[in-house]
Assembly symmetry: C3
């Protein structure tokens, strides 16, 4: 089994992983996997993801091997059939099966390029890894998903709101940011929350919509679990939430017109999460967060900020996932 | 003992290491070296070499420590007696013995600069490591040799053609490439094959010769082992081979006239390995490989491509070598 | 307990750590800390410090996790209250507690910027780590201190001069260098030597003074321990020393006039340590060292150079410190 979208195990399967993560946090000993290797290929920067993954390996007795193509390894060509007379020295056709032959789990981070909707929807690098890897693939954030984040988020909800999340009110709020950002995290939050039957409201300015395919899937998941998914351009919903999850993202309908979107963004600074916006709701963000752009310091440093617990759970949820991936018969 | 050229153990010694590597691949448990450290200094990029080395350490219970001078460590001055008032902050005279005092094996990668034949022949960085290290030195590709590649290649030949390689027909074929490349790999392939008594043909265009010193040594090794070394400018020999090993390299006689060589290279695209060229021969390449420049996709993706087994054997052969280096009385 | 200035344990406490380091060097087994993690954040390059730390972890059965913000992780904003609409994506307010939640010890390297005396005196990055970390902080060289270097230096003095260092004559000599350098190492050498009651002479050209606060503290420590601290512009004192410790640094009174200092430096090449300068004294330097700028090759390659033992002791002293930090009840 690979770990690509975070909803593979279903609602109960995810809760089992959350239970395990919270037990590990409470002191349960991790399983032991001496000599096992987790390869991690980072096409984008990382703090929490790489560090928590390496720490998880350490606690499992396993060994992380992190690579950054283009920095410490050769740049990679991704296109099929190309004549490689340009700068890339290595083709993904060789690199992935070779790496897979050295490790027990192959993890990869590759963000959306935000240039072509079809390309990003195809999640080309993650898909290429899956097609070529002989070992389980672990998604460390792809163009569309960030499943380890989604599991840590779910663990945070369970820790704060209880194991039965049905009907709990989560507002996923768009937030200002100086740059156009991928939608992997909001996609994941929406989907993970819907899977648990939460009452999810996606609040964003006009034009900053999420991929309708993903919204439709979330609606279906929420329906099955007894929850709901709504979308609004009205920020007042933040005041009634149990939890507000802030994140900036580029509009799905903005592919091909990013300059126009950038101009629109300059007038949307009031979407910053301020103390008055959120009442007593818990505040979450995947981090890194632009202080006083995305969210006011008083929220982030206030008593209802859950971001540190959320980030700390990245470690324990990563261990729970790696136990699953490493525990399979090779 | 250090591991510098890959022929140190002689023909039988190399076969013993191959036997061990193939046994490890088949499931034999690696030896255990808890707490032992393998330092690896990379002056050039690496995918397979670093990853397989780190994975080998993990399987041995040992710890890899990888460094990239100029990126995460200080740049190094190599020249003796120099007044260090330029950019380099660290001299190899200090760096190597210091690193050697922290680790049990000191590995290094440093490619040929292709500017001066005498300099590259002297293998200055590898030599400097050997002169200054108090622990065994492991060559991860130097100006002239790539012995871990040579051992994996030999293991591939044994796996595919049997343990007695005498008389097996290997064609080492020059291949097109957009850049001038060092000859460490072709030197190694030629020498490793000659050591096993293979019937080796080096095929290359005029002007793209290998170092005559290395050819002469290979001829002597082949003679001792019952094999043969020939050189040709005629590509038709590829059709009769048991195995075709493709690689681009700069001509040894091209030192000092690289621009002229670059112009010549533009007319040599037909040296690409195409399906019609090689009959039923196995196809090998050290990787990374420029698809459709060095070799046609149909060869690389075809049934006679041995490159994945070849690359996978990098792990098991690295373990076999590290068992030898770490098993010595310190 | 954190390890920030290297004098926290007092004179006897430092000697206990030195005893432990020398016992480890002689073959005493390190303690075992399986599954424990040491995070190390490098804002500046490192060879000895990172490598010896990672090797120390290996010998303890612990796992190092090294990060370089801006290279493999996001750039960090350090200022409080700032609106993060510039390039930095991560604030130290989030990064440090998050990392601290993944590891057992959090280490950091951040050099002085040499632009503002008050800023460098405040040791802002190290201080920020201490304020935000829930686990012990280990200083890998800050604006003012390099305590792991100081412990290795003290171990070298004990190894060469005996455990009772009172009255042993150390000359800390300024040395030429093409660039303006922080004073963390000379501060540390002065302070570590004063703590042991050595007879310390700081020799430097006019204008290249150390921070008077640090000198005053060293005088007080030396007075307590039965030693002495003097400052001179006369290099002839080198001839009478038991040990000469060379290092270049920027003058504390030179903040705000670095260009003037750079001009002055061009006329100070004669402060290079030459064989005739030092008689039979041991020669020390923290490395990396600019050969034939800071010190003549004949000193560095001569029989009285202690730099290799000094650097090798970085490993054993790092283990001694980590045993203390990892051995505390979490």
């Amino acid at each position: 089994m690979s770990w690509l979208t975070g909803i593979e195990p279903g609602r109960e399967g995810v809760l089992d992983l959350v239970d395990r993560a919270l037990a590990l946090r409470a002191g349960a000993p991790p399983q032991a996997f001496p000599g096992r290797r987790v390869g991690a290929v980072f096409f984008n920067a990382s703090l929490r993801t790489r560090t928590s993954l390496e720490a998880a390996c350490a606690l499992l007795g396993a060994h992380p091997i992190s690579l950054q193509p283009g920095t410490d390894a050769w740049g990679w060509e991704m296109r099929p059939g190309v004549t490689m007379d340009d700068s890339a020295a290595e083709h993904i056709d060789e690199a992935v099966p070779v790496l897979a032959s050295y490790v027990d789990v192959l993890a990869v981070r590759s963000f959306a390029r935000l240039r072509d909707a079809d390309e990003d929807r195809a999640d080309p690098v993650l898909s290429a890894f899956c097609e070529r890897s002989g070992v389980p693939v672990l998604n460390l954030e792809s163009t569309r998903w960030h499943p380890l984040q989604g599991l840590a988020d779910t663990a945070t909800w369970v820790s704060r709101l209880g194991r039965d999340l049905r009907g709990k009110r989560l507002v996923l709020s768009w937030a200002p940011h100086p740059r156009a950002l991928p939608a992997a995290v909001p996609n994941q939050v929406l989907t993970s929350a819907a899977l648990q039957g939460m009452d999810v409201t996606v609040a964003h300015p006009e034009g900053f919509d999420l991929d309708p395919q993903i919204v439709a899937q979330a609606e279906a998941l929420a329906g099955t679990a007894g929850g709901r998914v709504r979308t609004t351009h009205d920020r007042t919903c933040l005041a009634d939430a149990d939890v507000v999850y802030a994140k900036s993202w580029s509009g799905f309908s903005g592919y091909g017109r990013r300059e126009e979107e950038a101009r629109a963004r300059t007038g949307l600074g009031h979407w910053r999460i301020d103390p008055d916006d959120i009442g007593g709701a818990g505040f979450m963000h995947c981090l890194p967060v632009r202080r006083n752009v995305v969210v006011h310091d008083d929220v982030l440093d206030g008593p209802n900020a859950w971001v540190q617990e959320q980030a700390a759970l990245r470690l324990w949820t990563a261990i729970a996932v790696l136990e699953t991936l490493l525990g399979e018969d090779p």
